[in-house]
């Protein structure tokens, strides 16, 4: 229990990851599914960002002469977060485009209804 309180960022991140994961898995509404995906990925970024932060140190930006490396926080997780954001933005854009296409065809964003309609039309 104590560990969970000390690592409260990580705890929150894992809870958020679970919420996002379940939404992506269980929601019927496709837009809500993608929101779940957004929550899931943001949780990972929160986790990473909290890993890189070291209390009492500076941002890893050089001003003037090179100071001691031990004065700065770890910049690598921030780099990973940036890469991850690019990936999740493109995946979100692709998913939303696909949902829009499905909406044009079936006039609904409920995935169960879409599957049902597709079956009725004999498409699947």
């Amino acid at each position: 229990m104590e560990h969970l309180l000390i690592n409260h960022y990580e705890t929150a991140a894992v809870i958020l990851f679970g919420i996002g994961f379940l939404n992506l898995l269980l929601q019927n509404n496709l837009v809500k599914k993608i929101i779940g995906f957004g929550i899931m990925d943001s949780a990972v970024y929160l986790f990473l960002a909290s890993q890189g932060y070291i209390a009492g140190r500076l941002a890893p930006i050089l001003v003037g002469e090179v100071a001691n490396a031990a004065d700065y926080i770890n910049p690598i997780p921030a780099g990973l977060v940036l890469t991850g954001i690019v990936v999740s933005v493109s995946v979100t854009a692709f998913s939303l485009a696909l949902i829009q296409r499905l909406y044009q065809k079936y006039k609904t964003v409920n995935f169960d209804e879409i599957v049902l309609l597709a079956r009725q039309k004999g498409d699947e």
Partner: protein
Amino acid sequence: MPFVYNFPFFSIFICMISGIVTPLLKNGKWAYRLSLFAAGAGLALSGVLLGRIGPANESFSFMMGHFPAPWGNELSVGPLEAVLATAICLVMLMALLGGSRDIFDDVLPEKQKLYFIMMDEILAALLALTYTNDIFTAYVFIEISTIAACAIVMAKDSAATLVSTMRYLIMSLLGSGLVLIGIVLLYCITGHLLFPNLQQRVLELVATGQYTMPLTVVVGLIVLGLGIKSAMFPFHLWLPPAHGSATTASSSVLSGLVVKGYIILMIRLFYKVFTIAVIRELRITNVIFLFGLAGMIVGSVGAIKEGHIKRMLAYSSVAQLGYVFMGIGLGTDVGIMAACFQILVHACTKPMLFSCASALSAGRHHNKQLYALRGAAYENKLAGVGFTVGALSMIGIPLFAGFAAKVFFASATMAQPVKMWMTLLTLALSTVLNALYYIPAVAALWSRPAEGEAGEKQPSNPAFAISTVAFIAAVFFLGICYQPVVTLIQNGLALL
């Protein structure tokens, strides 16, 4: 550094650049030619690389931009990676040739260029997954291949493909989310991203007994994530509709290559990061083994019930992937060698089956129900022969590639009594089940059509002929002269 060491990077880079310049081209025909060039160039480069490091049995790591570890990004190349990359480029090239006519029929003319961009990116992603030595780069290319794979399924833009793409996309996103959190947790307990540094830290952690639980969770998450994406039983339900409804070249590439990319990455992670001994100790292999056995049966049963020839082939892919997971699940070098060999066998056989099935249905108004294809083999003899060779290889008739793979699986289990009996019984059962759906399909294709059922004879298609002949040659090569390939895989695994 010898010049040939740059080739893995070149082959990835050529594919990415081809994808980037494709929008500037005039039309889909030129985009198609550029994609062929990219795959051909990749094949030539990987082939030369294989010729150089295969016999010499050497492996090396290539620094991207000459930044040394632990700052830089690396590729690592050995005989195993070279064999797999050569096979990937070859299958990509042949799948594009074999499915070319359908691509131009199925995809809207103004979207054809975009289709070939996705094909280029898939090839780049697969090569990068095969070569990369950095776990976060692997994640990025997993996502690239996810988006591109979904895009080539939906390229046909029919209602069925849209629904199956959505299902595929959701499962893929769940899978990559799990892989991502697994990678982040691994970074959290080790502080590294490059495979060699990771391995060193993981072995230290295991030796000191620290973080045993988190390490197990990490391996579990990564295996689960990659398993979902490569259609491991019980997460295989997205595969048959997606692979069965897409255009021919997409089905070939997805079944033959894309699902394998994640498995190749899994094998490399097992050897280069966690080491196979640790994986065995964590008992993850037993879970993979059982899922593999179940997949072999469930996939075949699904295929028996299916009347749509492409969805039948897609279910058969689930069964064949079950073989691969069973081999990995044995957790020994011989088991994983057999799994790698099965990856090559399936990559050469399934694309041929898909392109032959489409060619056969072309004369029957693209009706892909098995009952509509009676006697279709007489209208396109080459496609009929190709389908028959592929089917016999899948069943496991001697001299065909599938037989060699099954023999390796059977002999790989000899050291483990319990797993041996389970494997041998399931192998026997699965062979019977395979025969139960492939033999009737082949028989229907070669039976005389009833009055008025016969379709029109198809005009000859040189691209399809080249691809089918090459695949048939590959199936016989892997079935008869498998020894050099097996030696390369064994040496490669030893050097990983």
